[in-house]
């Protein structure tokens, strides 16, 4: 710790503390005392977190076959997978989100059997479109990452497993997938932070996440900066937790160091 707390760091920490104190004392935080807003903020954080977790899991589940198809699939699987990744990576997420929400949202009501189905009460809400768009986005970006990871697994190991007569699914489950996952693990934390940074876009299609809550507070109370500052702090905290979790996860995975 001696190295970290050099004299200049103490001065900088002091300045930082002074800025934080000034923010707490001089700015208008009275709206935080309102129990209505407290509840909304907690709900907003919860929405942001579950959307992040669900879309990362769904997206990775899609990314694995996408990466595999590109790395080892026949051309009729590899080409569509590559096209899909190119499409997702080449257009803004906001546009994809709006295409799905406004496009499908205007198409579905005109189809009678969808209107009549049991799923209709769910499809009328905004969150399925948010989850769909964000999951597809993860799938597109991570599909590309997984392609590299699958290709990076030493070929000799796969051949050895084949020579020992291991069935193809077992090879995939025991050798190929675990090593590919281990390869992407260091980048996955960063990708999850990037995905977290994309979640506030869902507020533009009326999903009430933490960003939407802060916008609402700003509109209700005419307080301009403070909710934005709180928002930045909340996102930094979530990013910190993500980085910490992935570091812990990485430390649990044995890595052979040469």
């Amino acid at each position: 710790m001696q190295g970290f707390w050099a004299p200049r760091r103490i001065v900088m920490a002091g300045i930082g503390l002074a800025i934080v104190l000034w923010c707490v004392l001089a700015l208008n935080w009275s709206w935080l005392a309102n129990p209505k807003y407290q509840g909304l903020l907690l709900q907003g954080v919860w929405t942001t977190v579950w959307i992040l977790v669900v879309t990362m899991v769904l997206g990775m589940a899609l990314a694995i076959p996408l990466g595999l198809a590109q790395a080892a699939g026949p051309w009729w699987l590899a080409t569509p997978a590559r096209l899909f990744c190119g499409l997702i990576r080449g257009t803004p997420l906001l546009l994809q989100l709006w295409l799905l929400y406004y496009g499908l949202g205007s198409l579905f009501p005109s189809i009678p059997w969808i209107r009549g189905s049991d799923l209709w009460p769910i499809l009328r809400q905004a969150w399925p479109y948010a989850v769909l768009a964000l999951s597809l986005s993860v799938a597109g970006y991570e599909g590309e990452v997984m392609r590299g990871a699958f290709k990076g697994v030493p070929h000799g190991q796969l051949e050895a497993a084949k020579a020992m007569g291991m069935p193809r699914l077992t090879i995939f489950r025991r050798i190929w997938l675990p090593q590919a996952i281990r390869r992407v693990l260091p980048t996955l934390g960063g990708e999850t932070v990037l995905q977290m940074k994309a979640t506030p876009l869902v507020a533009t299609i009326t999903v009430v996440d933490i960003y939407a809550v802060s916008s609402r507070i700003r509109q209700d109370t005419f307080v301009v900066y403070e909710p934005l500052l709180l928002l930045a702090v909340v996102y930094m905290a979530i990013a910190g937790v993500i980085v910490f979790l992935f570091r812990w996860l990485e430390s649990r995975v044995p890595v052979k160091t040469a």
Binding site: A6, R8, R9, M12, G86, L87, R89, G90, T91, P92, L93, L94, L95, Q96, W98, L99, Y102, G103, S106, L107, V193, M196, K197, A198, T199, P200, L201, T204, Y211, V224, Y225, L228, L229, L231, A232, Y235, M236, A239, G240
Partner: protein, 244 residues
């Protein structure tokens, strides 16, 4: 059915006013210009930042670390909102303090500045890595010959780091073009917002969103080709590993 669909699509995307073609292209040009401006500003900030992180004093390094950490942890949308308000109000405060009139800052300039600051943080990391890839012996040799720092950067470091920096910079440029869409949320009429206006006026959601998607995709495909060319140019004269 298909003929009718094609006809209505062509009508919607027609150049002159009942169609939205001209409006969309103008918005596309605005998006590209903002992306270009932000990318350029980001390159400038990134070059300074990379040099600061590598050769700057301890305080400069700490400050740069804080800058890149914050920008990489907070969503662009929120940075855009904070900087958008903070930038316009602080420029106006400065102008008032110097005795000038307060001005209306255009969304165009604010967009470039805000996205440029975001790009700068990522560019700092890309360029820092690229500078590190230049063989240190060459920089030391230039210093030993008494080359002034600016000339050293211009003649030795920058030309050689370019090859290593291009893939990262290409990625940043693509991020810049896509991040311009975020300005739609603060109400700036770039391609995505104009597309939504066109789509909700005409109710032809798929037509317009797919057309805009095709435009963004065209930018990304063309830029990928262009950056490939630039990389080949930047690598001219380099010995390829394993090549003759």
């Amino acid at each position: 059915m298909i003929g009718g669909l094609l006809q209505s699509t062509l009508d919607y995307l027609a150049w002159s006013p009942p169609g939205w073609g001209a409006t969309l292209v103008v918005a596309l040009v605005k998006s590209i210009l903002i992306a270009l401006g932000a990318f350029g500003l980001g390159l400038g900030i990134g070059t300074l930042g990379a040099y600061g992180k590598l050769y700057g004093g301890p305080v400069a390094r700490d400050l740069l670390a804080i800058y890149t950490t914050i920008v990489r942890a907070v969503p662009e949308l929120i940075l855009i909102l904070i900087l958008y308000f903070a930038f316009t109000s602080s420029v106006n405060n400065l102008l008032l303090a110097w005795g000038y009139e307060r001005i209306q800052i255009s969304g165009f300039v604010a967009g470039i500045v805000v996205l440029g600051v975001v790009q700068g943080a990522y560019a700092t990391e890309v360029l820092r890595g690229a500078i590190l890839s230049v063989p240190p012996g060459q920089i030391e040799a230039a210093r030993a010959m008494g080359m002034p720092p600016l000339m050293l950067a211009w003649r030795v470091t920058l030309p050689q780091m370019l090859a290593a920096a291009i893939p990262g910079l290409a990625n940043l440029w693509l991020i810049a073009t896509k991040d311009t869409a975020l300005l739609a949320v603060v109400g700036y009429a770039e391609l995505t917002l104009v597309t939504r206006q066109a789509a909700s006026t005409s109710k032809a959601y798929f037509t317009f969103f797919l057309a805009a998607g095709a435009m963004y995709l065209a930018i990304s495909v063309l830029s990928t080709l262009l950056f490939g060319r630039i990389e080949a140019w930047a690598r001219r004269g380099q010995v390829r590993p394993g090549g003759s």
